[in-house]
Amino acid sequence: MDMMVEIIDTREDLKKEFIQQRTILDQAIPGFGYQKREQAFAHFLKLGIPSTRVEEFKYTPLEPLFNKEYHRSYTFDPISFDKDLLFNCDVPNLETQVEFVVNSWYYHPEHRLQVLSNGIILGSLAEAAKQYPELFQKHYTKYANPASDGLIALNTAFAQDGFFLYLPKNTVMDQALQLINMMMSDRNLMTQQRNLIILEDNSEANLLVCEHTMSNHDFLSNSVTEVYAGKNARLHLTKMQNENNDSSQLAAVFIHQEADSQVSTNTISLHGGFIYNRFDVALQGRGAHNDTFGLYLTDRNQHISNRTLIDHAVPDATSNQTFKGVLDDDAHGSFTGKILVRKDAQRTAAYQSNNNILLTDRAKMNTKPMLEIFADDVKCSHGATIGQLDSDALFYLRSRGISQKEARLLLMYAFTYEVIAAIPVEGLRLRVEELVSKRLRGELSRCNDCTNGCR
């Protein structure tokens, strides 16, 4: 099937910059020099920014985002900010190790890369490429293919830094790792962050990623994260998206899973002007299991798109997808999910569900849960609903003296709980519970207890 590709013409600007910044890009990530970037950029020139004519972006209009003017910065500009403030994103009652990425650059006052006592490496992607070239080369760009998508190609061509995490065989991170991605600038900014997460066999990590904006400018972040989970590795990834409503966040996560590995992701989208989350999971080993969960609470003119692909390439793998959303005001949501069961991937069990509540007639939801199945001994199902709060349940609560407002909140909270309940780390779960309940009450403009002044 040929894909019709309509190209939005921001390419000329980017092309000029790509040539101008040649020297900087050549040295940005050792081992991934200008020549390799050129290949990715050629793909970008061919594919462009996908328009809504591209099937996967049918409900995700990217044009308006890319038509704005953005500043792009090619060197890390350590803006002076109160470093103490950074540590206020801590999760209460949960010991976490906190790491920062500011405007796509890894930031730490003392070092670029740390090696923990058990051999775990974490820090800057560019630095990791320099110090551990073999490890880096083995995984970098292996899971996110720039030829497949304009956004991936764009990121691959321009990416200079991001977060790097490596867990050697048989290691367990005893603390949850909290990664805070921050956007702070005095002007509109476009960034291309690139993360690489490698879990060797039998390793285990809990990762919490928080997305914040520290000023009210238009931000456009186009990030790509590649995850490798070795045999029997365990990774849990929770993403909290809480950005200002003029920001646009395009985040693609590519997950490669080996036999018996277990990866679960929970994405909680609270604030943000335009959010596009993509999860591409390749189950490449028998017995691998993947959970992809998402929750989005949107209002005003927010747009949220969630796109998934769970690729069952081998037999005996299982997967679960649950996406739930509440849309208020003029919010626009979309879900494009796909389960692909390849030939001979027998005994696959794959489930997918997307449930939505529309609170106003101006809110809009488009959902497209797809199945593509080429093997016969499988159990696959999907379901999607779009509706409103159950009037019987509302009546029941009201007849017991609960106000209309409280009853609605209660039901909405119950509706969202399925996704929250799937977060395995207790402290984190409680934290998310609190944020969601505040968000539903409309009290959440920033994280609780946080004095960072994210907006």
């Binding site: 529309l358 488009n366 696959c380």
Partner: protein, 482 residues
């Protein structure tokens, strides 16, 4: 066990297409090719009025600006539109008064198909408008229907005799700009059926047409228009079988249904065209645009289809629920075997208030076939209290085939309740074992299970059709254990 199953599977999949034969009737054909001249020639041969020719030419001009759609999950070989004969009519005498005057060879064709006109006439009370290579041959029960004011005739006759009705409704549901194949059909359509049910009339019998593709290299471009006026009811049957051919044949039909206030139209199809041989050679390309408009308040349109034939099926019988309180239904069983490809489903567009739609789609894939459900449910901003339920199940028989589901749900109204659910599975070994244990052979067990699986849809068919459909399922699938 495995071996037995393979043998059974082979037996079944290699069985000859039952309805493959060519009737040797002298055809009145025009040369191959598609251009303005050909369209003028078709129009002239059919003695059409000027406005009809204009419509065709407009459609053709628009078609030339369009491209073959490639979004479906189908591999469609390049079609040379210049290599097709666009008009072929069995030669016949002017007007026939009795069956005796019908070409006996033609009558024999229908007999082979098991639908002798006389018997139908006497026993079943079904009026048959038999369409053979594009020209209506014989219409029965016309008089009975005429007494009630019902018009049931060929499309060309309607153009001559009821130009006002045709002008008023043709192209209002499927405009010629709608899609590539609709534009093509609008330009070159040869004939089809026209039904008009007047106000307050309940059509006393099932109306039915049999489409049959005959003369070699003739694409069939049918056009059907059904108008049900206020408070009327009609049930319409369409059944298809086609002779065996090695060359692919193109079928691009249009069906338009309009239901006015309180009217109900039920449209049932059993499609069993030649699917190609077991290596995927030959077979019909079935690219059909079917759409109903629930125009009036409280109107209802129901599509039921059993699709077992055709090499490639591209078909989405749809409903536009414009009138308040209108209801639309879509029931489908699609079976693919060998190298067949099907991309079929429906669109339910909710525009009016308190509208309801139901979608039940059952896909069965066997052999090396691919079977996709593709459906859209759209609830517009002002369509308050819309309700939709969709269920799309797929059954896989064998590990070489594919079953896919592409549902699109677009909701702009908070009072809507839209639900979609789908499952994909195979026939359980435990189910087969249970039947075997009770002395039911494996192939009978599969027939039983498949028929049970499809029952929800088959039950929607009128009696005669239900029997035929059940037989078809059995023939297509019994023994295909995965």
């Amino acid at each position: 066990m495995e071996k037995d199953q393979d043998i059974i599977l082979n037996e079944v999949t290699q069985s000859e297409y039952k309805y493959g034969f060519v009737t040797d009737i002298e055809s009145d054909s025009i040369p191959k090719g598609l251009n303005e001249e050909v369209i003028r020639l078709i129009s002239e041969k059919k003695n059409e009025p000027e406005w009809m020719l204009e419509f065709r030419l407009k459609a053709f001009a628009h078609w030339k600006t369009m491209k073959n759609p490639n979004w479906a999950m189908l591999k469609i070989p390049e079609i040379d539109y210049q290599d097709i004969v666009y008009y072929s009519a069995p030669k016949q005498k002017k007007q026939l008064n009795s069956l005796d005057e019908v070409d006996p060879e033609l009558l024999d064709t229908f007999n082979k198909l098991g639908i002798p006109l006389e018997e139908q006439k006497l026993l079943t009370g079904v009026a048959v408008d038999a369409v053979m290579d594009s020209v209506s041959v014989k219409t029965t029960f016309k008089k009975n229907l005429a007494d009630l004011g019902i018009i049931f005739c060929s499309f060309s006759e309607a153009v001559q005799e009821y130009p006002d009705l045709v002008k008023k409704y043709m192209g209002t549901v499927v405009p010629y700009r709608d899609n590539y194949f609709a534009a093509l059909n609008s330009a070159v359509f040869s004939d089809g059926s026209f039904v008009y049910i007047p106000k307050g009339v309940r059509c006393p019998m099932e109306l039915s047409t049999y489409f049959r593709i005959n003369a070699a290299n003739t694409g069939q471009f049918e056009r059907t228009l059904i108008v049900a006026d206020d408070d009327s009811y009609v049930s319409y049957l369409e059944g298809c079988t086609a002779p065996m051919r090695d060359e692919n044949q193109l079928h691009a039909a249009i069906v338009e249904i309009i239901a006015l206030e309180n009217a109900e139209v039920k449209y049932s199809t059993v499609q069993n065209w030649y699917p190609g041989d077991k290596d995927g050679k030959g077979g019909i390309y079935n690219f059909v645009t079917k759409r109903g408009l629930c125009k009036g308040r409280n109107s209802k349109i129901s599509w039921t289809q059993v699709e077992t034939g055709s090499a490639i099926t591209w078909k989405y019988p749809s409903c536009i629920l414009k009138g308040d309180d209108s209801i639309a239904e879509f029931y489908s069983v699609a079976v693919t075997n060998n190298h067949q490809q099907a991309d079929t489903g429906t669109k339910m567009i909710h525009l009016g208030k308190n509208t309801k739609s139901t979608i039940v789609s059952k896909g069965i894939s066997a052999g090396k076939s691919n079977n996709s459900y593709r459906g859209l449910v759209r609830v517009a901003k002002n369509a308050s209290n819309a309700r939709n339920f969709s269920q799309c199940d797929s059954l896989l028989l064998g590990d070489q085939c594919g079953a896919h589901t592409f549902p699109y749900l677009e909701v702009d109204n908070s009072s809507a309740i839209v639900e979609h659910e789908a499952t994909t599975s195979k026939i359980g070994e435990d189910q087969i074992f249970y039947c075997n244990q009770r002395g039911i052979s494996t192939e009978d067990a599969i027939g039983l299970i498949v028929n049970g699986y499809a029952k929800e849809v088959i039950n929607q068919l009128p009696m005669e059709f239900a029997v035929e459909a059940q037989k078809l399922l059995q023939i297509s699938l019994e023994g295909s254990v995965g």
